[in-house]
């Protein structure tokens, strides 16, 4: 990592890696000319844990638990990508009810993840009332997950070949009640996002990415869909029960920060709709199918739509009890590339919300614990400094 300025009149604003407001470590450097950002770079790895290497030394079943722990927000979708890949290699398919249960967890996870993001993004812009309300409402879906699995975060529903537990009717009824409440709240948030003057002032026309840029920069998920780049693994290559219970893709044309808010809120409402449909037509079957302990040699690519976008697993087996190689490419890594490019030309004060706009997830793309030496450099801003700067700038 170098800090040498690249020109005479450049000023570099390094931020992080520890910042109390963004909850995970990451280091950014913005090159500024006055107020305008002319260059940006990112240094990740502060929470790299060596999971891909670790996977090569664990059995297929042990790896299921390891993969679930890549991310604390979207643990289910990692496990789903992994088990679906292993099932493909083994030539088995999970029973219909198990696949429907996988979809139910995936959509509940999306609801909690999007609501978490809504709060964080609002907070970075200084809209703390919205942050507190959306996180209060997110508790409703966290309680559902706890009721289903006993856990708020690692619900651990998947097994290689199926799922661990069933969802009884009474629980579905309880979830429906919660969804009715959430739907009402989301309509309110949509109204706030679309009609609150100060909110629009900080989001409309900010961080705009065209469809061409989104495609070239490899944007994924809601970040791409807000730029009218219409792809969603759930629709394009249905997995789990998405063929039986499809979702409608949500896209927006504008490509700015505002569009990213609208797309995520509408997607959350779409999740609620599809959950009701699954509950109305829940297939009956057993929950697991038998899978051999040794997985036949071969390679597979397993893609799923995580809350932040396409999650890509490359899994290779040499016919043994342990995988030869597991490559995990998380959606946040793709979206970082877009931030570095989009930051250029914007005001420094807009950086917190542009960064938060992609819903960055560090653990996802870092995976080795490392403690950074304390830097006593007065030029280093904390995230809180930058966030306050942004709020003061627009006051």
């Amino acid at each position: 990592m170098t800090f040498e300025p690249q020109g005479e009149n450049r000023f570099i604003v390094p931020i992080g890696p520890q910042h109390p407001a963004l909850k995970e470590p990451g280091h950014f450097e913005f090159v500024v000319d006055g107020e305008i950002v002319t260059g940006a770079s990112v240094r990740l790895g502060y929470v790299h844990r060596g999971i891909e290497k670790g996977a090569e030394d664990r059995t297929w079943t042990q790896n299921l638990y390891l993969m679930e722990r890549i991310c604390g927000i979207c643990s289910h979708i990692h496990a789903t990508a992994f088990v679906q890949g292993v099932e493909k290699l083994a030539g088995v398919e999970a029973p219909p009810r198990a696949r429907a249960i996988r979809e139910i967890f995936a959509e509940l996870e999306r609801i909690h993840s999007h609501m978490l993001w809504l709060g964080v993004a609002a907070h970075e812009g200084g809209f703390d009332a919205l942050f507190m309300y959306s996180w209060r409402d997110r508790e409703v879906v966290m309680d559902m997950l706890e009721m289903l699995s006993g856990n708020r975060v690692h619900y651990s529903a998947n097994l290689i070949g199926g799922v661990k537990y069933d969802i009884p009717l009474e629980m579905m009824d309880k979830i429906r009640e919660g969804l009715n409440y959430l739907e009402e709240r989301l309509l309110h948030y949509l109204d706030v996002v679309n009609n609150d003057e100060t909110f629009i002032g900080r989001t409309r026309g900010i961080g705009t990415m065209t469809r061409e840029q989104a495609q070239l920069l490899g944007a994924v998920g809601p970040t791409a869909r807000a730029s009218n780049f219409a792809y969603d693994v759930r629709v394009d290559a249905p997995y789990a029960a998405y063929a039986e219970f499809p979702v409608e893709m949500v896209v927006a044309k504008e490509g700015d920060l505002h569009a990213r808010f609208v797309v995520r809120i509408l997607e959350t409402m779409e999740s609620i709709r599809v959950l009701r449909r699954i509950f109305d037509n829940m297939p009956e079957s057993e929950l697991v199918t038998r899978v051999p302990r040794r997985i036949p040699a071969g390679e597979t690519i397993s893609r799923v739509e995580a809350p932040r976008g396409e999650l890509f697993y490359f899994i290779a087996s040499n016919g043994g009890e342990k995988p030869e190689r597991v490559k995990v490419r998380t959606p946040s890594l793709c979206n970082w590339g877009t931030v570095i490019t989009l930051a250029v030309g914007h005001k420094l004060a807009d950086m917190p919300m542009i960064l938060a706009g992609i819903d960055p997830c560090f653990s996802c793309n870092d995976r080795l614990v490392m403690v950074k030496r304390n830097r006593q450099d007065p030029q280093v801003w904390t995230w809180a400094d930058l966030r306050n700067y942004g709020i003061e700038y627009y006051r």
Binding site: H48, E56, D236, A237, T341
Partner: protein, 168 residues
Amino acid sequence: MSATEQILQNAQNLLQPFAQSFNSPEPNRLDVFLRRENLLPAIKALIEARWGYLSTITGIDRPAATVEAGQTPVEGEIEVLYSFCSGAAVVSLRVRVPYSDAVLPSICPLIPSATLGERELMEMFGVRAEGTPDTSRLILADSWPEGVYPLRKSFVPPARVSGAAEGG
């Protein structure tokens, strides 16, 4: 012909001039084996035809097989996969480079965001992406020793070495 098959067929037509061979390991996948000098032209062909997007760059270590008496030893290689996706279709451009000459041209002039994948490849496998704009550490710690590539099979994490010494 399904839509996915059609998309894969298009990719195969585009990549025909550059490929050594093709393989379809799964109905939605096409593997394209390339020499490294054909990597950039092949990617350029995909981009100009607006075929999908680069989903990820994956490295795989292919260490040399144990040599039996009388055979010439073969050098280990790193295989690199550039996976492009379009709908359900996945095309993987596969290039192999030997340990002693682990260099690939950077694809950043064509796809700027590929720099993150290339930096990962340099740190974890020791495959240099020549011309990539930023070669500073992305993932590994600043104190990580030079020339140690954790995702090569020859790298054994320290804990496992001590376990073996105890006979475990």
